[in-house]
Structure formats: C-alpha cells, structure tokens
C-alpha cells in the first residue's frame, strides 16, 4: 500500500503574486478513489499541476509526500517514476513521435536498461488496452495527440494511464468536453485500474462523472483549500444545492467566479 499526502500546501503561479492554494491538506492511499469538486477558479487544477511538478507553479509553504518521502524537490520526470500520473486537461501535441513509441519509452523509463519491456509483450498489452477504450490500432500509430479531437485526447490520456500503471493517477477534468458515450468509455478504463495497487484523485466540477466512477471520498475545494470532505453522497448533495449553498452553510467568505 502506498500513500500520497499533501500537507498545508500554499502555492502561487510563477509570474503572479496571488496565492492560489491557501493551505491544502489531503491524504490518500492506493486502493482509494478520491474526488475533488469545486467551483471554477478555486485552485483544483493548480493542485493537480503542483502535485505533478509543473514548473509554472511555486510552492510557498507545505509539502507533498509519497510514502512519507517529500517529492517537492523532485523534477516532474522523477515524480512520474515515483508513481504519479497526471491526465491533463490540455495534453500537448507532439508531432514526429507515435503514440505507441512514446508509451513504450515511458514504460521503459521506469525499467532498467537491461530489462526493457519486450516488444511482443508491449504490443499485446497495448492491443488489449486499446480494445478496452474502444480505440483503433491506427490511433496508436498516429503522432502523439497531433490532430486529435478533444475527446480523443482524453481517451489517449487514459490509454497512457492504463499502459503505465502508476500508483496514483490525478485526472484533471477528464470529463470536460466528453459526450456521454466517451464518458462511459473513459470511466470503464479508470474502473479497470481500480484495485489495491492503484489510487486516483479525480478533479471535476460536475457530479456526472462520479455516477460512473464511484469515489470513496469526496472533497470540496473553495478559495484555495478543502472546505469539506465526505462520502459519495456529498457530491449528490452538491449537485442539488450548488456550491453557493455549501458556502453559505459553512459561512465562508469566498467569491465564486461564475457568480455575478
């Protein structure tokens, strides 16, 4: 069992002054799926990018630990090899390298020089995973995300996730821009990963996704910190009452971005 822990995390964007995360605390273990919900502009993406190690963000205070070891000083590639994965909201397009080549390079980066994944084993796993995600073989031979539709990119993030098998996967609004069929496919992929060796942190602002991937814990973020945690029922309640309702209930002085 592995743990991922975020302690009193304060973060700002590199080029700016304003603190976006104002003291996030979170602890999870493999075998669990946590969801983070919250209104727009509350720092959900900042949290996921900071955990992964995006150099555009600066940690002002606090710590991030895997199995009790701080990863805050590690560059993004070392964090990935330590077991983290971030399914990004806006995956980059890289021409000139095929999906399959890249995924193989990513898997092999976790293995010793003399223990690289044999090609037949890789292809077998790739084939199986593509089928799970209703993806064609042709998709794996296309250049990494180049010319992919929004939905294809999201699917491709899950393909990489399933191939790499991280300890902890953060899914940053994986549901945005997906129609209901694609949402089901993506959920099927994540559910297939569920098990004692895998934990996931799902960032979303709609409860819809959580109908397909049942979370063990739901956190609500507002104003740069987690303001309430509960079980799956909390998400349903939020859907009914809205974020403003919860804010008022908790007596928080937070302005919602979409609120006029």
């Amino acid at each position: 069992m592995a743990t991922l822990e975020v302690k009193d995390l304060h973060v700002k964007a590199k080029e700016e002054e304003k603190e976006i995360l104002t003291g996030v605390n979170l602890k999870m273990t493999t075998g669990e799926i946590h969801a983070i919900m919250g209104p727009n502009g509350t720092g959900k993406s900042t949290l996921s990018e900071t955990i992964m190690g995006n150099p555009n963000y600066e940690v002002l205070k606090g710590d991030i630990l895997i199995n009790g070891q701080s990863i805050i000083g590690l560059p993004v590639d070392q964090r990935a090899r330590a077991g983290l994965f971030l399914a990004m909201q806006y995956p980059a397009e890289i021409p000139g390298i095929t999906n399959a080549e890249f995924i193989r390079a990513a898997i092999n980066s976790r293995r010793a020089e003399d223990d690289q994944m044999p090609i037949p084993a890789f292809l077998k796993k790739l084939d199986h995973t593509l089928k799970t995600l209703d993806m064609t073989e042709e998709m794996s031979e296309r250049y990494l995300n180049e010319g992919f539709s929004g939905g294809e990119k999201k699917r491709n993030e899950i393909l990489q996730l399933m191939m790499i098998e991280p300890k902890f996967a953060i899914l940053d609004e994986i549901d945005s821009g997906l129609d209901i069929d694609a949402l089901k496919v993506v959920s099927r992929g994540v559910n297939a990963m569920r098990g004692p060796k895998f934990g996931s942190l799902i960032i979303t602002h709609y409860q819809r996704l959580l109908n397909y991937i049942k979370p063990d814990v739901v956190h609500v973020m507002m104003g740069g910190k987690i303001v309430k945690s509960g079980d799956a029922e909390l998400a349903v309640k939020l859907e009914d009452e809205g974020y403003a309702g919860l804010r008022d209930e908790l007596g928080l002085d937070v302005k919602l971005v979409d609120e006029e």
Binding site: G53, A92, P95, S109
Partner: protein
Amino acid sequence: MTVEMQTDQDIKKYAQQVDEPQWFTSMRLKAQQEVEDLTLPNFQKIQYHSWPINATRKLEVGDHRLTDEKLVTEQANIVQIGSKVIQKDLPQEFMDKGVIVCDWATALKKHSELVEKYFMTMATEPTENRLNAEHVAHLTSGLLIYVPKNVILKHPLTSYFFQDARQSRDYVHHLLLIADRGSEVSYLENTGTIGTKPCPANIIEEVIAEPDSHIKFASVDRLGENTTAYLNRRGYLKRNARIDWSMGMMNDGNIVGDFDSELVGEASHAEVKVVAISTGDQVQGIDTRVTNYGQHSLGNILQHGVILARSSLIFNGIGHIIHGARGAEAQQESRVLMLSTKARGDANPILLIDDNDVVAGHAASVGRVDEQKMYYLMSRGVDKKTAERLVIRGFLGPVLSALPSKEVRKVLADMIERKLVNGQKDE
C-alpha cells in the same frame, strides 16, 4: 607554421607523377594563377573569412593505408580514404548497364573526354571564387559516376568518402555525377574524417541532370571536429530533369555548406531537404539556393536545424527567379530550434524575383523548445534529455518524412540520434 606556397613547378611535377591529361594540368595552372586575385564567396550572416579554410599545401600522392583505424560503414559500394579507393563493390546491374563509377585518377585517364565536358563547365566554374580556384589547383581525390542514356537503376549506389586527417594535409575532393538523358539513379553519400589533425576540406560536388533524368541524391555529412570545411554541392538541371536532395549536416567541425540548384531547363524540378544539428562550439553555415532560369521550373527548399550547447547554425534560403522564367515557382521554409541560451541561430529567407508571372513564397523561424511539450513528455517519466530528443525528432519530422527513400530516412534518423546523444553530453 609556415606553408610553402604551391608553384607551377609543383603542379607539373605532380601531373607527371600521376600522368594526368594535359588539359587538366592547364586548368590547374590557370586556376592557381587566379587564386590570389579572387575573393572568398560571400554568404549572408555566415562569418567564416577568418577560418583556416584555404587549401594551400602542395599536391602530393598521399599514402592512405589503414593501420588499425576502424571505419564505420554500412553496406557500401565505394569506400575512399583520401584519394584511395579501399573498397569497390558495385551491383551487377551497374556493370550490365554500362554505368561508370571510378576514382578521380582513373576518370582522368580513361574517361578524359567525359570529365572535360562536364568538370566545372556547367554547374560551377574554377574562377567563380577563391575556394573554387584552390579546389582545381589542389584537387587530388574524387569520384566519377556516369549513368548512360535511358538507364534506369534499381539499386542505389552508396559511397563513403573519408578525409584522412591522420596527418596535416588538405582534403580536396570532387564528385562528378552525371545522369544522362532519361536515366534514373539513387545515390547515398557519407562523408567522414579519420584522424584528428586540424585540416581544411574543400569538397565540390557537381550533379548534372541531363534532360528527362531523375537523380535522388542523399548525403550524411560527418566531417570531424577539427576539420574546417567548404562543401559545395551544385545541381545543374536540364529540361524536365529532377533532383531530390536529402542532406543531413551532422558534422562536428566548422563548415560552410553551399547547396545550389541551377534550374536551367524548362520544367526542371529540384526538391532540397536539409536537416542540420550543431553541437559543442561548432559553426555550421548553410546557404541553400534554387535559381529558376527555365520556364515552369520548380525549386522547393525545406530545411530544419537544431542547435545545442554553444554552437551556431545559420540557414540562408535563396529563391532566385531570373527574368524570362515564366511560370516558375520557388518556395522555401527554414526553421531553427535552439536548445540552449548560449546557442546562436539564424534563418534568413531571401527572394530575388526578376519576372512577374511566377510564384514564390517563404517561411522562416527561430525558436526555443516548447516548455509545455517538455513538461508533458516528462510527466510520463521520460528524463529531460530523452524528452528533448523526442521534441527534436518531432521538429525534424516534417523534413524526414518528406525524404523519398525509406533507407535514407532510417540512416539519417540513426545519425541524428547519435549526434544528439553526443551533443547533449557537452551541454
């Protein structure tokens, strides 16, 4: 070090020694006289005038025996060290169809008329500039390839030219490739250096495409770190002829490359693809030109380059359309990617249009590695250097994928990987 200048007497002595034809010796003597009065060719933004690039040493018959040096060659038909051919293994098809492939001394002896007709008479001239004149006066090695009329060759010809820098000497090398009317040939050339002595290299390659011929010319240049080189490749295209150039500039030393296509014939067509990688402290200046003389002629330049460490890479792209070349087209794209803040890169598009009824266009850029892409790749676990190489491969991809031959693509991709891995060690 003082170098004694070559005299007319030295030329005559060498001519006698190698028994070269009179007309060639006369050409040498004339070129030698002109050297002092000629200037180095000018290429915009390429500052090379202070380089030790001049060929000055007396002509001599070199001893190019191999001792314990290891040559890295893939399947080769011709391997030359200095002026000496150490391997010649032509496809049977070449013999059957009367193709001529021979070293320079043999070319002058056995095919004197052919050489006299084409040697620096069309594609370029001995007095075009100082380096050309030095080339003629000091030429000791080379290769002649002649493909007879209407001969279509299925097998490509692969050559390796090694500059011998185990001793200080000038490497002055000539390629004369002639595809006669209606013929087709695919040629892959590899240049390299054995030894580490600082030496100049002066290489001129003339590629003559007679009417209706088609030449695929690919090259991987890997001249050594201590070599200062002038590499001049000239295509001369007659009516309806076509040359596909695919060049990989993977040298380790300072080099000025002049890659020109003279689109003389009506509807002649040149495709020029260049990829270049500069590493360490080297400077690579590449001047690529297409000149449209013929009506409806077409010249396309596509060059992408990557710069690491403290090195420089300059791409000039010149599209020149001569008055009267109605319906001609010249297009070019030059892109440079810089991986370090100490690197210097330039991409200069130059269009010279002297006719109205033509199409011409250009695109040029110099940029840095996209941080978002790096972050994305690294977030999957690949380390920084591997991620950089992936981004570079992506950047060079449009040129590589446009190369006409799968084999050349593979050779070049491997060479790029090797040059990058080596170059990254020096960052």
